[in-house]
Symmetry: C2
Subunit: 417 residues, 2 copies
């Protein structure tokens, strides 16, 4: 047997019905927020991703050379592609530009729970402005996506990278050295950072201050403990807009420091605590990226939601309810009724019901067994007498209850129940 | 500037709205026919595709080696993956198994009109039976997908590979030689085939007979000219079931001979004549494939629709109508009304309207210009007086007509029009 590649998945009909339900709900949230969908290629010039994320991303990418010997990569994320698309073709569009995407991404790492080599993301980018209300708009969309998906237990944490950046730059003075410190912060390896501070004879007091800020997690009021910086005012205003949007339970988390090179101000994450170690289901923030790809600089804010993890989180709460794959399975009692049965199934389908008919010339009992095994809601049995009266027997497959109905009324009878 | 890879595409919001409309209509057709969606990985072990299509497919595939030095390929088609999935995990499911997929495929060839290096297919496989009604069911689904998408001008051609196969095997007798002849037929290079017949001293009469059959295109009655074979009776019965399904205009085309190794009986294609050289929008037929992948042999019938070509064909007929991206754009007349405006947009969104609000603190006139440039249906203007009365000014962006409505009634007023 040929197996699927390691770390990838096959999804069957029941699983897909659940995933599409979740995806559709999130898409609808994007649409009501006025975001338009974009789709970009599954592979790109590898350079696009190394420019954004640095050379180290190569180890985690599926890279290959095309016939023109150009280095291509399966996309590890989609933001870079959307910004490339923006720079190439949309930079003259009216601002702000509100774009969302749903797509598969690829990461060449060891498969483990909640991490796959091919995974699915829904993300959004708001391009062309940066202020508390545009950042709040993006956070509100992320929250509405998760809410629409049906998840109840999740935590939204909002931070601001500008606070740390400004503080480090001010305290150290030397731009190059400040850059190195920020790089250490980005790695979040506090032990190594302590050693680096000692080696470079940087003030221990600064280290403690950085650690204290990175440790600030909780209610908005925590910000009162910080020096009144531009950034704290910014976050307070942002939380004010979120309230107007009906989002009242966000937390402050100054510990979101990943991607310091990349993010410029507000950063935010959403966790589903039930998922344990892999609990982060969304990450985002404000950034500038277009100039790296040869465009004019432009402020953007965006996020990406891990669809796989949202599905896992939902299933940890309760089963995702999806309708039966079949509303009606039409069973001719004998061969003579076969043609009549095809006419009935065609009619039910034209009326929008999910309907099927015996395609294997089976006996009545085998057909009823099949209808039961595929969880059809109703069997529509066409017998000789019924056919003469233009009627059918409608059998509720759950209760076993049967009644005769006019052939013309099957759809409305099924819809009633 | 970094360009997207050659032969790939970026799709913007308007284009995507059209494509999703077409895709959704086809998905819904699959659902009412009782087909369930499956999703398989974007890349597979390359062997999967060479087993199905032969080594020559390698030249057209994106192939790469993973870190375990296994040869992987971006999928050039999805049927092989669905059958692999079936063999690995679904072979014990009740039959028939009705599966459909929507996904991207990759073909490493020179880009040209209607042919892309990344392209999109919707396909279906009915696994577990083979008789006129199950083949008719699959043809009916393909036709309903195309009809649901809105295409009006298309031609369905149905053939049967068994007729040629049986004839060649019978006339030639020698199995190996018959295989070589069939291989030539598969290539459809009649000149080369003529030479081969001369070189091997095969009867010219047989060549003429093959050419005559491959040339049979037209109404069902054409079959009366053929020797009464099992296959002609099969096709007549199949066309009878199609009629019961309301599909009356299929043609016979015995010239569909591609994939002789692969298809076992009925084959069919749909063309959109307006597309010229690249007019084929769908291809399918009945096949057996599972035993190649290590499973038990099982009859299957399936098809794949080229979504890109369906979209091109639709656009050749008329513009694909999609709703405006925004129903309402909320404009605060002054800074004081900003908060009130956020509340209004949040309300409109919760009522399911596609709504947006000024996020750039622009003047009224700039906001109205923006609303117009993004084709918003209505501007919702929030002034001081209106705010006091809990009203807004609703401006129809097309007619320019304005009227005052209660803030609570905006959604219903917009829905009315």
């Amino acid at each position: 047997m040929i197996q699927r590649p390691r770390g990838t998945r096959d999804f069957g009909p029941v699983e897909m019905a659940k995933r599409r339900k979740v995806e559709s709900a999130m898409r609808e949230a994007c649409a009501v927020f006025g975001f338009g969908e974009v789709v970009t290629p599954t592979f790109e010039h590898a350079e696009l991703f190394t420019l954004r994320s640095g050379q180290n991303v190569v180890d985690e990418m599926y890279v290959f050379r095309d016939k023109g010997d150009r280095e291509m990569a399966l996309r590890p994320e989609i933001t870079a592609s959307v910004v490339r698309f923006y720079v190439n073709e949309m930079s003259n569009f009216p601002k702000p530009l509100k774009l969302y995407y749903v797509g598969n991404c690829f990461r060449y790492e060891n498969p483990q729970s909640g991490r796959y080599r091919e995974f699915f993301q829904l993300g959004a980018e708001l391009i062309g402005t940066k202020n508390p209300e545009s950042d709040a708009e993006v956070i509100a969309l992320a929250v509405n996506c998760i809410r629409s998906a049906g998840l109840e237990n999740f935590v939204v944490r909002v931070g601001h990278i500008g606070i740390l950046k400004a503080m480090v730059n001010k305290e150290i003075g030397d731009e190059k050295l400040a850059g190195e410190v920020l790089h250490m912060i980005d790695k979040e390896d506090w032990d190594a950072m302590g050693e680096m501070f000692d080696a470079r004879a940087l003030p221990r007091q600064l280290f403690d201050k950085i650690a204290a800020i990175a440790d600030m997690k909780g209610e908005l009021e925590l910000l009162n403990n910080l020096d009144q910086s531009e950034a704290t005012g910014y976050l307070q205003e942002l939380f004010g807009v979120l309230k107007l949007y009906g989002i009242e339970d966000c937390l402050i988390d100054m510990g979101i420091v990943r991607g310091l090179d990349y993010y410029t101000g507000m950063v935010f994450e959403i966790d589903a605590p039930r998922l344990g170690a892999e609990k982060q289901i969304m990450g985002g923030g404000s950034y500038t990226l277009s100039e790296l790809f040869g465009g004019e600089p432009v402020f953007s804010t965006g996020f990406a939601i891990g669809i796989d993890r949202v599905v896992l989180a939902l299933e940890a709460e309760r089963e995702i309810a999806v309708p039966a794959q079949l509303d009606a399975y039409v069973v001719p009692a004998k061969d003579d009724m076969r043609k009549y049965a095809f006419g009935i199934v065609a009619r039910l389908r034209s009326q929008g019901l999910r309907a099927d008919v015996d395609l294997m010339r089976r006996s009545m009992s085998k057909n009823l067994k099949y209808a039961s095994s595929v969880n059809a809601r109703y069997a529509v049995i066409v017998g000789k007498e019924e056919m003469a009266k233009r009627m059918v027997t409608l059998r509720d497959m759950k209760s076993g209850e049967q009644r005769q109905v006019m052939a013309d009324d099957i759809a409305s009878e099924i819809r009633k129940s």
